[in-house]
Structure formats: structure tokens, C-alpha cells
């Protein structure tokens, strides 16, 4: 039954979004730029969801870099909470508003592109001289149009507290069995085994994915038994006291803070924590690739950068991206400040990457376990739903709401519809 209806005009959502956004942005970059001529003062509004010190510092560094190169331009960085970013961008697009540049979870490009919040980049990309230096795995395409690019790659590794490992007499693990033996020894010595995120949102799915695929699970052929085995493993970690059940309340920031406190042997966390580790951890630490099997995969994530659909000056906004995120110097700034891996092949060869003890294991992970995020078999419209479904299964087992078998059965049933 397909009956077309005239939608209620404009909508209060648009009105409230406009009010909320004007409160956040102080008027919005688009409106300000409309008033500015090409020689007058101009503003590039950048929406991001960074709350960690190092990531905020990078945004400020990019702002300074671009403003120094362009006297009449002001870059306005606007913080939007992570879980409100997508809905605000889509609502703003419906109201004819929005930022000039959006920095968001690259895996959710399809959600924003389908919602009409982003401007296709194909034309700009064709004219970009260094396009061939950027890996195709960080270009986000929806319905054959390119909407976002990543200036860097973020991924998960296994952080370890070298002092605890020395004390219990184990080496950094290379297999899951070694990891579990090390966690058992750490727990016996009075330490916590591991920290990770079990939050029932996209962050939970991002963290769970390596452990799902470790057991042979894939979205191409969702196997309930493999998923159940993966969930059983994490349930055991909780039962043994290696992983706190409280992980269900933690986003990815909190577990690293717990690790940095020095009482936990391992942390499943990303390269972007490099700056925070240097600042907060007063003990020896290191990183190794997650000790996965041959089937194991680690998402190659990171923030996507895109132009807002209603940017009044997309040329200037694209210039901002070219001179910050896509610029070799800009990518090395991200590397030095945050620890993000450059997406340009020339910047990736810099000795800052190849000789860095923390980043080298992440580079190794890219080659060994790197996987497209999100999986290309997931339909664009199902990305958000799939992430929540899998994260809820992960969270339900860690939090003891469901048994691994029940959670795996419910999740695979849901996946049948989502992947259809």
C-alpha cells in the first residue's frame, strides 16, 4: 500500500533544530558566510564530537593553522555530543541549516548521506591533486557518490601495563589463550585483567567486532554458534573477575581512564589514546596488536570529514579540509597530538609512524587484521540498526541480562532482516 501524503509543512523538528543549533553555533556558519563577501571576514563552522583533551587540542591546532594562512577567515569549532551528532546534522539539513564541515564517525556516513546532511565530494575529489595518495579504504561512498574522506585511521589495539606484566612474569600476549592466562595471573596478583567498552551503542559494536570475528563470525554469513562462542568468552572474563561488569556503563574514554589509573593489566583501546596515555599514565606501558585468530578483524575506523549540505561556502570549507585533514603536515599534526595514523601514503612513511613504539603495532594491525568499517555487506540504511543490535547483545551478556546463547540467537534473528 503506497499512499502518498503531503507532509506537514516545515515541521517543528526543523524549528527546534534551528533554535538549538543557533544556540550552539551562535548563529551558524552558513548564515554568517552568506553575509560576507569574498574579501570580507568569513567563517568556517566545524561540528565535531571530541571531548578528550588531545582531540580538542588537534581541533584548535587545525583552527590556528587555517586562520594563520587566511587572514580574513575564522574557524569556529562547535562541540556536539557524540550520540546527538547524526540526528542534529540530519535535522539541521531539513531546516536548511548545518555546518560547513562535519567531523563524525566515518562508519555512519551512510546515515548522514541518506538524510541529506552531506554534500557529495566527487567533483572536489577529482580536482584534488593528492587524491591518489589517499587510501581508498578511507573514502566513504553511498549510492555511487563520495560523501566523506578520512584524514587518518583509528583502530583498536591491546594496551598493556608493562609493570604489572613484569610483576606477574608474562610477556605481552600474541594469542587469546596467552591473554587469558595473563589476565588470570594479574587477577591473582590483585589487579584487574582488562578494560573495554560494553555500552549498548555503536561504540560497543566497534569494540566487540574483533572478538566476534575472532570466533569466525561475519556479517556476510552470520553464524549463531560463532557469535555465541564469542559472547561466551566475554562472559567468562566477567565471571572470572578479569573484566568489570561495569563495562556496560563505559564509553571508550572511561575504560582507558581506568587503565591509566595503573591497576589494570590490559585495555582494548585505540591509537587515539596515545596522547592521553603519555599525559596520565605514570607507569611503563606498551601496545601489541589484538591477539586474534586468522579470522579476526579490526575495524579501520576514525572520523569522516565532509562538507555540510547547506554550507554557504563549500569551496572555502573544502579548502579547510585540504589544508588540515588532507594535508601531509596536518596529518602529522594529528599523529603527534592524538596518535592517529595518517591516511596519506607519504605521511604514513614518516619516521614518526614507522619508529614510534606505540603506533607501530597499530600499523601492523592495519596490515594484519584491517577491515572496512562498516562492513561493505551491510546495507546503508541498516548500519545504525545493526550497530545497536550487536552492541545490545554484547552489553546484555557482559551485564548478565542474557545468556550468550540467548543473545546470539536474538541478534542473528535481527540480522536476518537487517542484512536482507
Amino acid at each position: 500500500m503506497s499512499q502518498k501524503n503531503r507532509r506537514l509543512p516545515a515541521g517543528i523538528a526543523a524549528l527546534t533544530a534551528a533554535l538549538a543549533l543557533s544556540a550552539c553555533t551562535g548563529g551558524g556558519g552558513g548564515a554568517e558566510q552568506a553575509e560576507a563577501d569574498s574579501e570580507g571576514p568569513q567563517t568556517v563552522t566545524v561540528w565535531h564530537y571530541f571531548a578528550e583533551d588531545a582531540q580538542v587540542e588537534l581541533m584548535e591546532a587545525y583552527k590556528e593553522k587555517f586562520e594563520e594562512a587566511h587572514d580574513s577567515v575564522t574557524v569556529e569549532n562547535v562541540y556536539v555530543p557524540y550520540d546527538q551528532m547524526n540526528s542534529r546534522l540530519v535535522n539541521a539539513a531539513g531546516a536548511g541549516e548545518g555546518p560547513d564541515v562535519a567531523v563524525f564517525n566515518g562508519a555512519e556516513t551512510s546515515i548522514l548521506a541518506l538524510g541529506g546532511a552531506l554534500l557529495p565530494l566527487d567533483q572536489y575529489w577529482q580536482e584534488f591533486d593528492d587524491a591518489e595518495l589517499i587510501s581508498e579504504s578511507v573514502l566513504h561512498t553511498v549510492d555511487d557518490e563520495m560523501y566523506a574522506v578520512q584524514g587518518y585511521v583509528n583502530l583498536l589495539g591491546l594496551w598493556y601495563n608493562a609493570e604489572i606484566l613484569d610483576e606477574i612474569g608474562v610477556e605481552p600476549p600474541t594469542t587469546m589463550q596467552e591473554l587469558e592466562e595473563a589476565m588470570a595471573a594479574a587477577e591473582e596478583a590483585g589487579y584487574r585483567g582488562i578494560t573495554l567498552s560494553g555500552l549498548p551503542n555503536s561504540q560497543g559494536e566497534w569494540q566487540a567486532y574483533p572478538f566476534f570475528t575472532e570466533e569466525g563470525f561475519s556479517y556476510e554469513d552470520p553464524d549463531e554458534t560463532a557469535l555465541s562462542a564469542a559472547l561466551s568468552r566475554v562472559e567468562t572474563w566477567v565471571d572470572e573477575g578479569w573484566l568489570s561488569q561495569e563495562a556496560v556503563n563505559w564509553d571508550q574514554t572511561v575504560p582507558f581512564q581506568e587503565f591509566s589509573a595503573g591497576q589494570t593489566a590490559f585495555a582494548v583501546n585505540g591509537n587515539w589514546q596515545r596522547g592521553n596515555a603519555a599525559a596520565d599514565a605514570d607507569f611503563e606501558y606498551g601496545v601489541v596488536p589484538l591477539p586474534l585468530s586468522e579470522t579476526g578483524q579490526v575495524y579501520l575506523g576514525g572520523e569522516g570529514q565532509a562538507l555540510g549540505a547547506n554550507s554557504q561556502n563549500p569551496e572555502l570549507a573544502w579548502q579547510y579540509l585540504q589544508e588540515t585533514y588532507l594535508d601531509p603536515e596536518g596529518q602529522l599534526m594529528a599523529l603527534e597530538i592524538v596518535g592517529s595514523l595518517p591516511s596519506r601514503s607519504d605521511a604514513a612513511q614518516d619516521e614518526l609512524v614507522t619508529e614510534d613504539e606505540i603506533l607501530a603495532p597499530f600499523s601492523q594491525t592495519v596490515e594484519q587484521y584491517g577491515a572496512t568499517y562498516p562492513d561493505s555487506v551491510v546495507p546503508a540504511e541498516a548500519v545504525g540498526d545493526l550497530q545497536v543490535t550487536m552492541a545490545q547483545a554484547w552489553s546484555a551478556v557482559i551485564g548478565k541480562q542474557k545468556s550468550p546463547e540467548e543473545a546470539a540467537s536474538d541478534a542473528t534473528d535481527a540480522l536476518e532482516d537487517l542484512l536482507d
Binding site: 500500500m1 503506497s2 499512499q3 502518498k4 501524503n5 503531503r6 507532509r7 506537514l8 515541521g11 517543528i12 523538528a13 524549528l15 527546534t16 550520540d83 546527538q84 547524526n86 540526528s87 540530519v90 539539513a93 531539513g94 546515515i111 548522514l112 541518506l114 538524510g115 541529506g116 560494553g198 555500552l199 549498548p200 551503542n201 555503536s202 568489570s244 561488569q245 561495569e246 563495562a247 556496560v248 556503563n249 540504511e381 545504525g384 540498526d385 550497530q387 545497536v388 545490545q392 547483545a393 552489553s395 546484555a396 551478556v397 557482559i398 551485564g399 548478565k400 541480562q401 542474557k402 543473545a407
Partner: protein, 326 residues
């Protein structure tokens, strides 16, 4: 001296009531003109509130109902037309097994919030009935707690109830063998967020109850003391009857407050572990803004709105009844 003083209020009210007819009978023509003019003036005063309500309450609700009857996803949200889906979104919510457990969780939260908020609100009001420095200080603290934004309040409680938080530290010092899983056990998490929501509503309820208690003339308590009434008898036979009308109104308001439980859940558990604290409003949020199925999310949210509507109707009825009795 006391009794005449106590009788002054009804007398004053009677004078006021008599004044209208008396003025009307002495100047019938002027009444007609003035009455029509003043009622129009009332309408003008009502207009800003009415416009505000229409734009920020009625229209969004209509929009919500409209979306719930259509297939709206991130692909079609900003499209000019939406495909009509009838009740498919409502049916899908229940057939997927999400809505019914969410209704149960919502009712659990409503029960805890209402019971805790009403009983502790009244208890606090009775304790704070007397005027004094300590009473004033405590009242100020309660108003502060009441005025705290839920995000701040929830974040503070999230720290307090964490595995290594203050509450568990105290419990461990008192001999608890292991931390209480306030926010990460499915049963405890639902109870905890409901208790925090109840805690947040106690100040408001206490202030309203206290206002009702303060209308009891002190001579009534003096007479009760002369008659040898115990403290319990004062509460049972003087205070509880005095707040009866207020209780009904406050009960409805507290139930509505519990029914729209969202903010504390969002801050403290994000609906987890798994879906253990996903009440109807939170489930609606999750479906609309994390799964981007706006039609399904609107249907779930509209169920919550329907519940609130029912209670709002009950509230309006109870207010009118109390006014008539008053």
C-alpha cells in the same frame, strides 16, 4: 483570641464572594460592558501562552502522531512525501518484542518514582513543617537539588553509584562483602535509575506538601496538644486530612513525571545493560536517533504520550474537583 483569627479567612472569602453579585446588581449595564471587555482582555493575556503551547506542544505532538503512521527513515526524513504505513509501526514494535518489555519497565519506574516521591516527599514536608534556621537551610538544599539539571544530577549519581563510588565505598566499609552492582546489573540498574528519579522529585513534592501543611492553623495543633494527642495522632488526624486534596494532584503529577523517565536513563545507563533500562521514552529515542527508524520511534514515543495524556486528563479532572471542593 485564636479562634476568631482562624475564622477570619472564611469571612474574608465570603466578603469577596459577595462582592461580585453586589457590584453586579448595582450596575447591571456597566457589568455587561466591563464583563465583555475584561473577558476579551483575559483572552489577550492568554494568547502568548496559547501560541507557545500550540507551537511547542500541540504541533510537535501532531507531528509525532503523523510520523508514527508513516514509513520514515533517514533516507526519507527530509523528503517531501512519506509513505503511509497505517498502524504497521505500532504492530512492528510489539511483534519485535521490544514494546511490551519497555511498557513493563516503564510501569516499574513509575511505581518506584511515585511511591518513593510521595512517601518521602510527605515525610520531608512533615519534618520541615516548623519554621527555623535548620528547616530553612534544608529547604534551600532541597530547592537546589530540585533545580539541578537532570544531566548534572544523573552524572553525580553515576559517580556515586559506580563500582568504586562513594556509596559502595561506604557499604564496603560497613562490611558489605562485594560492591552492589547498582548500575550494571539488569534488575539493580532499573531500580537505581528509578530511585534517582524519585530522589529528584522529592524536593518538589516536599515543597508542595509543606505549603499545604502550613495552611493548618497552629491553634489546631495547640488544641491537639491540650487533648494529649501523640505526634503520630497529629499526623494521622490533622496533617493527612489537610493534604488530602493536594495529594491527589501531586500523585498525578508524580506519575506523569515517572512515566516520561528518560534523562536519568540516558545519562546513567543508556538503556543498558543490554535493554534492561530501556523504558518507552528511551526506546523511542533509541529507535529514532540511533537506529534512524523515525516511524517506529515515533510510534513507541506516542504510546508513552498516550499514557501521559490519560494522566493529564486525570490531573485536570482532579484539579477541577479540588477547586469545586475548595
Amino acid at each position: 483570641m485564636a479562634l476568631p483569627l482562624a475564622g477570619e479567612q472564611p469571612a474574608a472569602q465570603a466578603t469577596t464572594v459577595q462582592h461580585g453579585p453586589s457590584a453586579a446588581s448595582s450596575a447591571p449595564r456597566r457589568r455587561g460592558t466591563r464583563g465583555g471587555s475584561s473577558s476579551r482582555r483575559y483572552l489577550i493575556f492568554l494568547l502568548p501562552a496559547a501560541v507557545f503551547m500550540a507551537v511547542f506542544a500541540v504541533f510537535p505532538l501532531l507531528q509525532l502522531a503523523w510520523i508514527s503512521l508513516h514509513d520514515v527513515t533517514q533516507r526519507t526524513l527530509n523528503a517531501p512525501d512519506w509513505e503511509f504505513a497505517g498502524l504497521a509501526n505500532y504492530i512492528r514494535g510489539f511483534s519485535a518484542g521490544e514494546s511490551l518489555p519497555a511498557v513493563t519497565r516503564t510501569l516499574t519506574v513509575v511505581f518506584i518514582v511515585t511511591a518513593g516521591g510521595m512517601i518521602l516527599g510527605l515525610t520531608s514536608a512533615i519534618a520541615l513543617r516548623t519554621r527555623g534556621r535548620w528547616s530553612a537551610c534544608l529547604l534551600a538544599v532541597m530547592v537546589f537539588v530540585w533545580a539541578l539539571p537532570p544531566v548534572v544530577n544523573g552524572s553525580v549519581w553515576k559517580f556515586l553509584l559506580a563500582e568504586n563510588g562513594l556509596v559502595n565505598t561506604v557499604l564496603t566499609a560497613l562490611g558489605s562483602p562485594r560492591p552492589v552492582p547498582f548500575l550494571y546489573d539488569p534488575q539493580w540498574a532499573l531500580i537505581s535509575v528509578a530511585c534517582v528519579a524519585a530522589f529528584a522529585v522529592i524536593p518538589f513534592n516536599a515543597l508542595v506538601f509543606r505549603a499545604a501543611l502550613m495552611t493548618i492553623p497552629p491553634e489546631v495543633f495547640e488544641a491537639a496538644a491540650v487533648d494529649g494527642a501523640s505526634r503520630f495522632q497529629e499526623i494521622r488526624y490533622i496533617m493527612l486530612p489537610a493534604v488530602k486534596g493536594t495529594t491527589l494532584v501531586l500523585l498525578v503529577l508524580t506519575v506523569v513525571y515517572g512515566f516520561r523517565s528518560f534523562d536519568f536513563i540516558y545519562v546513567m545507563t543508556f538503556g543498558g545493560p543490554g535493554t534492561a533500562t530501556a523504558t518507552l521514552p528511551f526506546l523511542g529515542y533509541l529507535q529514532a536517533f540511533n537506529r534512524y527508524d523515525y516511524g517506529l520511534g515515533s510510534a513507541t514515543s506516542f504510546l508513552a504520550v498516550a499514557g501521559v495524556f490519560l494522566l493529564a486528563g486525570l490531573y485536570a479532572w482532579s484539579i477541577r474537583r479540588e477547586e469545586k471542593q475548595g
